[in-house]
Symmetry: C2
Subunit: 488 residues, 2 copies
Amino acid sequence: MSALFAPTVPRLAALPPSRRALEIPTSPDRPVLTARVARLRGAGSMVRGRISRLSVRDVRFPTSLGGHGSDAMHTDPDYSAAYVVIETDAEDGIKGCGITFTLGKGTEVVVCAVNALAHHVLNKDLKDIVGDFRGFYRQLTSDGQLRWIGPEKGVVHLATAAVLNAVWDLWAKQEGKPVWKLLVDMDPRMLVSCIDFRYITDVLTEEDALEILQKGQVAKKEREKQMLAQGYPAYTTSCAWLGYSDDTLKQLCAQALKDGWTRFKVKVGADLQDDVRRCQIIRDMIGPEKTLMMDANQRWDVPEAVEWMSKLAKFKPLWIEEPTSPDDILGHAAISKALVPLGIGIATGEQCHNRVIFKQLLQAKALQFLQIDSCRLGSVNENLSVLLMAKKFEIPVCPHAGGVGLCELVQHLIIFDYISVSASLKNRMCEYVDHLHEHFKYPVMIQRASYMPPKDPGYSTEMKEESVKKHQYPDGEVWKKLLAAQEN
Amino acid sequence: MSALFAPTVPRLAALPPSRRALEIPTSPDRPVLTARVARLRGAGSMVRGRISRLSVRDVRFPTSLGGHGSDAMHTDPDYSAAYVVIETDAEDGIKGCGITFTLGKGTEVVVCAVNALAHHVLNKDLKDIVGDFRGFYRQLTSDGQLRWIGPEKGVVHLATAAVLNAVWDLWAKQEGKPVWKLLVDMDPRMLVSCIDFRYITDVLTEEDALEILQKGQVAKKEREKQMLAQGYPAYTTSCAWLGYSDDTLKQLCAQALKDGWTRFKVKVGADLQDDVRRCQIIRDMIGPEKTLMMDANQRWDVPEAVEWMSKLAKFKPLWIEEPTSPDDILGHAAISKALVPLGIGIATGEQCHNRVIFKQLLQAKALQFLQIDSCRLGSVNENLSVLLMAKKFEIPVCPHAGGVGLCELVQHLIIFDYISVSASLKNRMCEYVDHLHEHFKYPVMIQRASYMPPKDPGYSTEMKEESVKKHQYPDGEVWKKLLAAQEN
């Protein structure tokens, strides 16, 4: 892809009339939709095609063999994904690819849930989906029968994320833009029309959202230029997984320092003496000025979190991440109250299951750093609402990433956040983990410890077909071998 | 079953030595397990056998055809269940049956999740499971890979409930007691050993739990007698589903009054004028003295809930149930603050996904009535922790029931609660819905608008095999016909 933001398909004139998204006749009995379509038209939209196929596959990488990704609660993760591909009847051959991230076992359950949602997507015109994206989101999350097994949480919400991530990838590819740029260029009213405000209007109304987004238009061209030149600041989690030996830790840390990293995260929570030793090693190596974060992955109860972190305070962590259950808003508030006076902030979010939890974490002053996740929340749509709430409370967003594909996705959201919402880099950075990027067609690009804005159209979610085939569970080549070895 | 609490199998002597649960040699390196086994021994336990088979089926009843169960958010439910049966290698032929309740679509996803959990159960000795039930619970809910798609919420937690409900059914059948009686007779230390206190010790420690249960021993014989004679008070939801016409509502209400019901619940939340009319009808029919509850099934945002209910206050509801998202603890607290002065309490719980949510609802004074659910929480184990927390905060428990099998299960929990925990009937009652009981082998028995304590061993979860076969989805006779008719 040579030209920046070049569309991947010929322009409108080359398409047969029936595929022209902008050719919808206006109708007095559909005034809302008409207004939205008008906005699509105003944006020069190229949205087209009817969803004709949805496929989903169970793709697993045997990361547990190397201790990568191990933490106090997830000791042997095989980074995996439910990988969704949607196709349309448009003649451009463009596919939308979406993932949700998982840890191995259970991916088949998410695959099953994607199939249960598929009937909401199939045979829909993409222009109807994005023309009333709020309505479509509500349809997926509030199906009168399916919502019982959520609602908007766990397996069924992860599946929703995978499906919607594919829709966003498709939309952005059709528009010839990376998702962050699609969002940055989008009319604020159109952005607001993607958000389901149900259950958050006591904190953020449509009007509030619009006001924030309109303010975000000021000087956004400069911020976009800045991002394209310098990228978005990142921190690394790759050095200090719980399963790594001290030697591995030192070696990776030395290499990361050489590569220009200035912000490091260490996993803690399984054993206090171990933690003290490992934190000492890493603090000694990075020196007193560089930033250190700690991550307990939900290991503690509330009193335990306070006690444990009081003992690690001497290593000057910027934050303790996931000190306790992701459901425990009041617990995080209590921990925050105890630890902020020690100079330690609270970070959480990667397992916060929807916007209602984030709303309350903000209301209760339960966190100092908010960590969105691109695959646990309901895709771009729900993340938009969380970014806007965080802006309203002036809490910095520092996204969760890593796993497989999470870096690829979330960079779009945080770059948009800087350009169009927060307009600030203070206390902000995006997680980075250096694993599994080679399986993606448009992998992240890190320069000088920063995410460089992706330039290829889409959501960077498309995997290499060869990788998918090899790692499909249980029939891909990689798993066939591993499972056979296990049996012998 | 003629004799009360008669064991369903011959006594220990008739079993081969290898099956004798009490014959475990003590071992100094397993002191905790040994102590627990000693307690099992003290209780004259008959626990035996190794789990040799687990099967799970997707069973659906086409209730949407009659508008039964319809509410403001679930307009067309087909009451369904993932139905789990576990078998052991003991020669008694006893099976454990467990369900989790669903609404039709998505049951197949829960079935898939049960299969993902099965390896934790298969080939385990039942005596090892119940001898360290906390450990077993933790194993199911904290699997290093599977917990990512929860944790302890949504599909995977519903599946956990189905599996554990089957284990409790098996255990109680082996002991020859209904589950409520098994719990009532259980040593408090043994009860405490079934509970996972993770994430709730800031509110309820093991010591707190033990103290509450020991106090509950006082006069429990009298309360057991009282339950056996009079039953546990119930209220009915059968009269006023949202999909019923005014005529049906009147007719069912008249019949319920004739049958001795004194407490009624009406569904609200879809349309205010409709609600006013329907509430007027029902209040006129039952008169000013009888109890009326309202249920919005999560339809509103926080400000909307307050406004809407202010307009229905004149009908004197005891509570408004599920005014907003089940995840919104602070929202419920705000609604409670506004409505309690109008004489309306807040009730919620049927979609609260684990003990951490209930802990916070209690901490935040967000509810006046706590509604446990036997299939959404992690079976008896997690419900025990919630009953004890409710006792600590002196909040009455009024269980959710209905659906398919929920009445059968939850009666055990609430009867135990009265005899051994709360010792009070003030402001307490258990939901009752008169549907689908005919499919159970040991259906609930209602007399004088009260649940009469079940006397058959087990958890009342066993379904008639003929019903299961007929209603299996999509291959059972009932569905074959319906699906064929749909196609024509």
